[in-house]
């Protein structure tokens, strides 16, 4: 076959591709956020139990989902870098980590502001909240470990092992509300049954999920371009870029 699937695994070809793709995801994230917030604040009704405090769900759930999803994708790239020894995979993992950490921080912060008026507390050490906090430590640990090793290829390997080990935490977060008694409520949306939300509320939340998804891709693509330039500065093509 003439098409080379590994063509885009080279930093040289991926750098311009990422530059071309990023604007689409920036635009998509802004458009979806505007639509999602409009539905969330002006179409979705007030909740029968929680009043308007439930509207925090429109950022809490997207951020929490992305925090778990980005971790799995990051660990996947890191594992690919470890197994196939491809530089770009490791760079992608590095580009995703700060965004994943940010999503985790947002999920925890919005959760505290939601928990206070509804549960009566900012924070409890139940299985869901504790495992989400561990996720934040895993992201920070991944970034710190990578930064602490001078040789980038060795740093990639060490950080990849940490990322892969940490994957066990993701199903723990997701299923914690089923496996243990938690203060945190169960999932409103799952694959096995109909969502337990009014349809406009659900629509607003899903639009925000796509907005956060597009945002995460846009930031990761932009960040990976910087990482590529830093780590490939000895390559001829970067030097070429510099003289342009």
């Amino acid at each position: 076959m003439s098409f080379n699937w590994f063509r885009f695994s080279s930093p040289q070809t991926f750098y311009p591709l990422a530059g071309r793709l990023a604007p689409f995801f920036w635009i998509a994230s802004v458009a979806l956020t505007v639509a999602g917030l409009y539905i969330g604040f002006f179409v979705a009704p007030t909740d029968f139990q929680q009043g308007d405090s439930y509207r925090i769900i429109f950022i809490h759930v997207p951020a929490a989902w992305m925090s778990m999803f980005i971790y799995v994708v990051m660990a996947g790239w890191a594992a690919m870098g470890l197994i196939f020894n491809t530089r770009l995979s490791s760079m992608m993992a590095n580009a995703l980590a700060p965004t994943g950490a940010l999503m985790t921080a947002i999920a925890l912060w919005t959760g505290a502001l939601w928990g206070r008026p509804t549960w009566g507390t900012w924070w409890v050490w139940d299985a869901r909240l504790t495992s989400e906090l561990i996720l934040l430590f895993l992201y920070v640990g991944f970034m710190a470990l990578h930064a602490s090793i001078d040789d980038p290829r060795r740093a990639d390997k060490a950080a990849a092992i940490l990322a892969i080990v940490g994957v066990v935490n993701v199903p723990i977060i997701y299923f914690s509300v089923k496996w243990w008694n938690t203060l945190h409520q169960g999932s409103s949306v799952s694959l096995t049954r109909a969502p337990s939300m009014a349809s406009t509320m659900l629509l607003g939340m899903l639009v925000m999920v796509f907005a956060f998804w597009a945002y995460s891709i846009a930031t990761a693509l932009t960040r990976v371009r910087g990482i590529i330039l830093e780590r490939e500065r000895h390559a001829a093509w970067v030097a070429q870029l510099g003289t342009e």
């Binding site: 009704p45 007030t46 909740d47 029968f48 139990q49 929680q50 009043g51 439930y54 769900i57 594992a79 470890l82 197994i83 196939f84 020894n85 008026p117 509804t118 549960w119 009566g120 507390t121 409890v124 050490w125 139940d126 299985a127 092992i161 892969i164 080990v165 994957v167 066990v168 723990i172 496996w179 243990w180 008694n181 938690t182 203060l183 409520q185 169960g186 999932s187 409103s188 337990s196 939300m197 009014a198 509320m201």
Partner: protein, 164 residues
């Protein structure tokens, strides 16, 4: 074995080992990760005796009594099988309601009353507008009503058969 395959085997082996370790740890910690105990578990002496712990369940309908001092509240936590009376002094969360979930932290005294130092509301994952909620409530009531009349009809029918 190529170095790539070797690395892959190492990673796969590592992940498998970690998975098993995690499963074992989870199993061991299962009993310690309990955020609250249900009244049934408390009745079965599964809750730690002598120290503070949390109980969780529903606030029994019609059980909330505010004492004359204005700050003390008495209510019953139930999981439909067993129930525990709770005494609490302080501010209740907005979502504390009869028939809804609650988690209380405190100590079980010798008299069987749970003296709570903190009361948290545990809400469910249902979100809907108030009109929909009252419609659901009405529908449930209607269903209960129809079941009751169905039972009555049956017994009436049975009576008629007997007469024949």
């Amino acid at each position: 074995m190529k170095p790539r395959h070797k690395r892959f085997a190492l990673v796969a082996g590592g992940v498998a080992a970690l998975g098993i370790a995690a499963a074992l740890i989870l199993n061991a910690f299962n009993s310690n990760l309990v955020f609250f105990y249900s009244p049934t578990q408390v009745a079965a002496h599964e809750a730690p005796a002598g120290r503070s712990f949390r109980i969780g369940g529903m606030v029994e309908s019609g059980s909330v009594q505010r004492q004359d001092d204005g700050v003390t509240v008495k209510f019953v936590v139930t999981d439909t099988a067993k129930s525990i009376p709770v005494l609490y002094e302080g501010i209740l969360p907005d979502l504390f309601k009869e028939g809804k979930g609650v988690v209380a932290e405190g100590k079980l005294e010798g008299d069987g009353v749970f003296r709570a130092s903190q009361v948290l509301a545990k809400h469910d994952e249902n979100y809907m507008p108030p009109e929909a909620a009252s419609a659901v409530e009405k529908a449930q009531k209607a269903e209960q009503e129809s079941q009751r009349t169905l039972v009555l009809d049956k017994s009436a029918g049975g009576g008629a058969e007997n007469k024949q």
